[in-house]
Amino acid sequence: MAKGRPVVRRSGLTMPVVTARFVDNAWRRGCDFVTLDLEDSVPQHLKAHARSLIKDAIPKIERGGAEPFARINHDYVEADLEAVIWPGLIRVKYPKTEHAEEVRRLDAIITRLERERGIRPGTVEIDPSIETALGVAHVYEIAAASRRVKEFGATTGGYDLSRDLGVEMFVDFDQFVYVKGEAELAARALGLGVRAAPFVANTTGSVSDGKRAFAQAEAARKCGLHLGGGGLNPAVVESHNAGYTPGEEDVRDARWVLEQYRRVIASGETWLEIENRVIDAYEAARARDTIEFAAACRERDRDKAEAVARTQAALALGA
């Protein structure tokens, strides 16, 4: 993985690009990213219209400091990519990926469009979604298919995957251990950003339950995971931001671990047991990660706040 400032993608919303009030208000939501959808939330008869809206929607998303993503249709790759690859777009989400070849094809088309439209080569990421059993069977090849794949994983509760496996969702046990395990293993083996979610029961299926969203994000953070999968309702955005952001206590604890690790090094040992905890190189690395991520979150939040302030000022001027 490229070193440098860690990516901060805690919260996001997926919205049908055809619903103007969602897109127009997206900047007020506090998201780290917004996915403009051309796929499942857009009725078939509105697909062409939806494509025509993406180019103008991208700057609307940027108004709130969020990264603009777009989800295209599995079956209309050419037309959809022509419509979404514009300056400002960060990532293309490709649904129902089943073969590495599909990702390579996407890569080739995006490479051409970046060249034609003056976008720096390699800017646009590909996010291949694993939503079928066949996709799960090929996770490693898919994740390895393009350097544009920067993050990878499977989170719980995929509607498509549940449909393909023929399971009812929202039961009280983890139905996707294998799926998540295969995807996370592939992501880690390839050194990609890991998008994973520890099991937190969701028996209602509510898309606006902020409390549950927070619990899920917090559980993920405690497992050392930083990347959120986003949601469908504005009510979960702040929960995701808060759940993924290391708290002051986490940062204090991380500083303490680093302090103790200095003692380990000075002692000539490779590890020490201090206050019932193992302090070693790995713990120190985790602590550093927490501190860096907390700083990156702060910076990201400041960027977003400034973007929102600029937008508000512009609106006031316009009014």
Binding site: P16, P43, L46, Y159, D164, V171, F176, V177, G205, S206
Partner: protein, 322 residues
């Protein structure tokens, strides 16, 4: 959309005459006559029973399968492949060659016995780590494979350990089965832990609960070692009236959304979009297919020419479960 309704598959020992005679009276979607569990010395006599037993087991419109012994595969296949048979349950499948071997033998038998070539289907059971690891190749070996499952007691034995009831040791293996079988267009079958390892007769409520859990892990049916499993297994793998009603609402809400220009529709706090609507279609079609299969079994079971015991006929022709 072709939906295979083979929820319950009742396993009966071919040498147990009473069990074979009784096998058609439990409402099983399939009955499997077991040659594998027969002692070696008794195998020849057991094989001779198969041809007639197929007719008996299938009286109430159950599909009839024969479970073969890996060590005597060809003799068992020759004893089993008669008109009326739906297919073979291949146990201890280790590799793709085991499947192709059986499939080729079946082709020959189909030709010589006036059975439509390619019509006999296979249910493969995996019992070793080797098979679990290689299941993709196994599933790709023949288009005859309709279902696949793990034989978990034997899998534990072949791995040399005794599981603990509190710790499911086959989360990985079962998850792999669900994914790889589905990817190959094959129906995964099995029970949830711990009944998958200790197939006990725990009462209808427990069986239905375990089978429901299995369904929610992706299984499409279960092999039933006891006749008492059949009804709760059928129930678990049949969409409930509540589920049918809910999915009708999903379809209606989604259609209204589309008419209003959006494919993302809130319903009871959930979000209904294309895959949710597609799943609703599957649930409703499954309910219909189950009802049709149940009607078919009821009609066959109540045919007086079928010699079924009348009180049992009444039981199985009770009110339709919808």
């Amino acid at each position: 959309m072709a939906i295979l309704v083979r929820r319950s598959n009742l396993l009966v020992a071919i040498t147990d005459a009473a069990a074979v005679a009784d096998s058609c009276g439990h409402d099983a979607d399939a009955v499997t006559l077991d040659l594998e569990a027969v002692a070696i010395a008794d195998k020849p006599a057991a094989r001779a029973l198969i041809k007639d037993a197929i007719g008996v087991a299938g009286r109430a419109a159950a599909e009839v399968f024969v479970r073969t012994d890996r060590r005597f595969l060809h003799a068992d296949l020759a004893a089993a492949a008669w008109p009326g048979l739906s297919g073979i349950m291949l146990s201890r499948v280790e590799c793709a060659a085991d499947v192709t071997d059986a499939a080729e033998a079946l082709s020959t038998l189909e030709r010589s016995r006036g059975i439509e070539v390619g019509s006999l289907s296979l249910i493969v059971l995996l019992e070793s780590a080797r098979a679990v690891w290689d299941m993709r190749a196994i599933f790709a070996a023949s288009s005859r494979i309709s279902q696949a499952g793990l034989d978990e007691p034997d899998l534990a034995m072949s791995l040399g350990f005794e599981p603990d009831e509190a710790l499911d040791p086959f989360v990985y293996a079962r998850g792999r089965l669900a994914v790889e079988a589905t990817a190959a267009g094959i129906a995964p079958v099995g029970m949830a832990y711990p009944l998958s390892v200790w197939p006990r007769d725990d009462g209808a409520e427990v069986i239905e609960g375990a089978a429901t859990r299995a369904r929610n892990l992706g299984m499409k049916g279960a092999v039933c070692p006891h006749a008492s499993w059949v009804k709760p297994v059928n129930a678990a793998f049949t969409p409930s009236p509540e589920l049918v009603a809910y999915n009708k609402r999903v379809r209606a809400a989604f259609a209204a959304g589309i008419a209003a220009g959006t494919a993302a529709v809130p319903l009871d706090g959930r979000m209904i979009d294309v895959p949710v609507d597609e799943w609703a279609i599957v649930v409703l079609a499954t309910a219909e297919a189950c009802a049709a299969r149940d009607a078919e079994k009821r009609v066959a079971g109540s045919d007086p020419g079928n010699n079924l015991i009348s009180d049992r006929t009444e039981v199985i022709s009770g009110p339709p479960g919808d």
